[in-house]
């Protein structure tokens, strides 16, 4: 599968973009030319020059540095959210799929209820009740999204538990935990990775939207959604402000989408 993926040019390009962005995010303090928080009110809305490669914002803060530091909350929190969602959803789905019977029934009814609520409204609801802030946005997203994975992974597990190699493992007396860790998890892992990659774009847009509305990260911390919110206020006078964070967001989101599509194609047994 990995070899197939490396042949796919689209997947290669999107992986490169994601990899570089993540690296830039990790080394943001080293790479960024200026302090993202330092305000220079005299130099506000400065045009791009050698000191500020992308100009400055309404408080005279370096746009490029804010963009680079913004990678952390935007991408890393989305990654954290996705990983937590998958772990929770995967665990629940695994239990439901493997245990069958009444436990499965109860879990799946709970999942049905969660899925019947529109996810955007539920995120708003949880943030509304817990209060504004990035931590609550992450909690809300995890609380809503896990059910989606639980259902997917349950059906994956169900499909695999009837395969002969699992039956064989049972027949030779392997313990349940051995079967789950050594057989079921590797079997469903590739599908989970694909789902996660397709979902990362959604999570990134969702989290940055909440920051844009002012419900997520609080100023002055740099985040792409929040930066766009500030740029919106300067729309009349300095429309170029919105280009940097917007293009960056679209680039990374579409990279994750493309990678997810390529993974799906690579996994699809139909296309040999």
């Amino acid at each position: 599968m990995i070899r197939k993926l490396l042949k796919d040019k689209v997947a290669l390009v999107s992986m490169t973009i994601i990899f570089i962005t993540v690296l830039l995010g990790i080394f943001a303090p080293v790479v960024a030319p200026n302090d993202p928080m330092e305000t220079r009110i005299i130099q506000k809305y400065a045009s791009p020059d050698r000191e500020f490669p992308l100009g400055t914002d309404h408080l005279g803060r370096c746009q490029l540095s804010r963009l680079l530091h913004g990678i952390r909350p935007t991408i890393f929190l989305s990654l954290l959210t996705t990983v937590c969602t998958i772990t929770l959803g995967g665990l629940v789905g695994m239990i439901a799929g493997y245990s069958k019977g009444w436990l499965d029934e109860i879990i799946m009814r709970a999942v049905d209820v969660m899925l019947s609520f529109p996810s955007q409204v539920m995120v708003l609801a949880v943030v509304g009740m817990l209060g504004v802030g990035m931590r609550n946005v992450v909690i809300a997203t995890i609380a809503i999204k896990w059910a989606w994975y639980a259902r997917m992974i349950r059906s994956c597990v169900k499909r695999h538990t009837h395969q002969n190699y699992v039956n064989y493992a049972k027949a030779v007396g392997a313990s349940q935990s051995f079967i789950i860790i050594n057989h079921l998890i590797p079997a469903v892992l590739s599908e989970i990775v694909m789902l996660a990659s397709l979902d990362m774009g959604w999570v990134m847009i969702s989290i940055s939207t909440l920051s844009f509305l002012g419900l997520g990260i609080q100023p002055p911390a740099p985040e792409w959604g929040a930066m766009l919110s500030e740029a919106k206020n300067a729309l009349m006078t300095h429309p170029t402000q919105m280009l940097g964070p917007g293009i960056a967001l679209v680039l990374v989101v579409s990279s994750f989408n493309m990678l997810g599509d390529s993974l799906r194609d690579a996994l699809d047994p139909k296309e040999g």
């Binding site: 529109p118 609801a125 509304g128 847009i205 940055s208 844009f212 766009l228 919106k232 679209v250 989101v253």
Partner: protein, 311 residues
């Protein structure tokens, strides 16, 4: 058919109850005491005495299920209580005041979605892998990757700031609805266009299409009368759900374009910690989703009698 509708409605009732239960229970997630919040936002110092009075006034001294039952009775009369922020305003009044604007916006977007995605979906299916299909595939890809708030800002910049042909926001001037409605519908146009395209392509491989072709029917009438009818059946459920999604999706768009609807009401309620308003908003959205789902299912079953048997 009647039996199917009755059964489907019966199935929706427990879902409605669950939705009310969740919207009621969510209020218990508040990290602080709601009584104290209610007092503080009205700038009353929360002394023990004031807390006790307020607690009784809000009915919070009752046990959970008693409160839930009386709350259910209340909301059945569309009474969501008083806003914490503005004691003189009832929550239902606030919602009724801002609902028409949201419905207008969502209705307009729905018309755009239906009017654009169905013809484009058909064209893409008919001219599969030709230039227009490929161009539309790029559009779909871009529309799913661009966050709609950024799209909104870009549209404001282009049409309001640069070309000066449309207002930037509000709902007073004529044509003010165009930009928010287009912004809201873009993502959904992409989704439904793809849905209709794929469903038509799937139908085109069915036996009845071969039969129609062997009978010597014109391709136009095969597409228009047979394939389109069958693929629209499948898309109707999704289109029905899009009404609910459009209404809940207005939150972002209303905030960008200063559109005075329930999405903005909800966001300002979140900032002001006006919990009754948030609660009413969640409840309304939950009920709306269930009703739209119900209607979509029933219409689909009416159009396609086979579905009545399966469930």
């Amino acid at each position: 058919m009647k039996q199917y509708i009755a059964r489907r409605i019966l199935l929706a009732i427990p879902m409605l109850l669950v939705v009310t239960f969740i919207s009621f229970g969510l209020i218990h997630l508040i990290p602080s005491d709601p009584v104290e919040v209610a007092l503080r936002v009205n700038e009353i110092i929360p002394t023990d005495e004031a807390i006790a009075i307020m607690r009784e006034e809000l009915g919070l001294d009752q046990p959970f299920f008693t409160r839930y039952a009386s709350w259910l009775k209340q909301i059945a009369r569309f009474d969501f209580g008083q806003s914490y922020i503005n004691k003189n305003r009832s929550v239902s009044g606030e919602i009724l005041r801002s609902l028409p604007a949201t419905l207008k916006l969502a209705g307009m977007s729905f018309m755009i979605v239906v009017g654009v995605s169905i013809p484009l979906g058909i064209i893409c299916a008919v001219y599969k892998d030709r230039l227009i299909d490929r161009a539309m595939r790029i559009f779909i890809f871009v529309a799913t990757a661009v966050p709609n708030y950024w799209m909104g800002i870009l549209l404001i910049w282009l049409f309001a700031v640069k070309l000066k042909i449309l207002p930037t926001g509000g709902n007073q001037q004529s044509g003010a609805i165009i930009l928010p409605a287009v912004t809201l519908s873009l993502t959904y146009i992409a989704t439904y266009m793809r849905l209709i395209r794929n469903s038509m392509l799937e139908n085109l491989t069915e036996n009845y299409v071969y039969y129609a072709r062997t009978r010597g029917l014109k391709e136009k009438s095969i597409i228009g009368r047979h394939v389109l009818k069958n693929s629209l059946h499948e898309s109707i459920a999704a289109l029905g759900m899009s009404v609910a999604q459009l209404i809940s999706g207005t939150v972002v768009v209303e905030n960008i374009f200063s559109w005075p609807g329930i999405g903005r009401l909800c966001i300002s309620a979140i900032f002001n910690r006006d919990y009754p308003v948030i609660q009413a908003y969640i409840l309304m959205m939950g009920v709306l989703f269930i009703l739209c789902n119900l209607l979509a299912d029933i219409t689909q079953a009416m159009l396609d009698p086979r579905l009545q048997e399966v469930k």
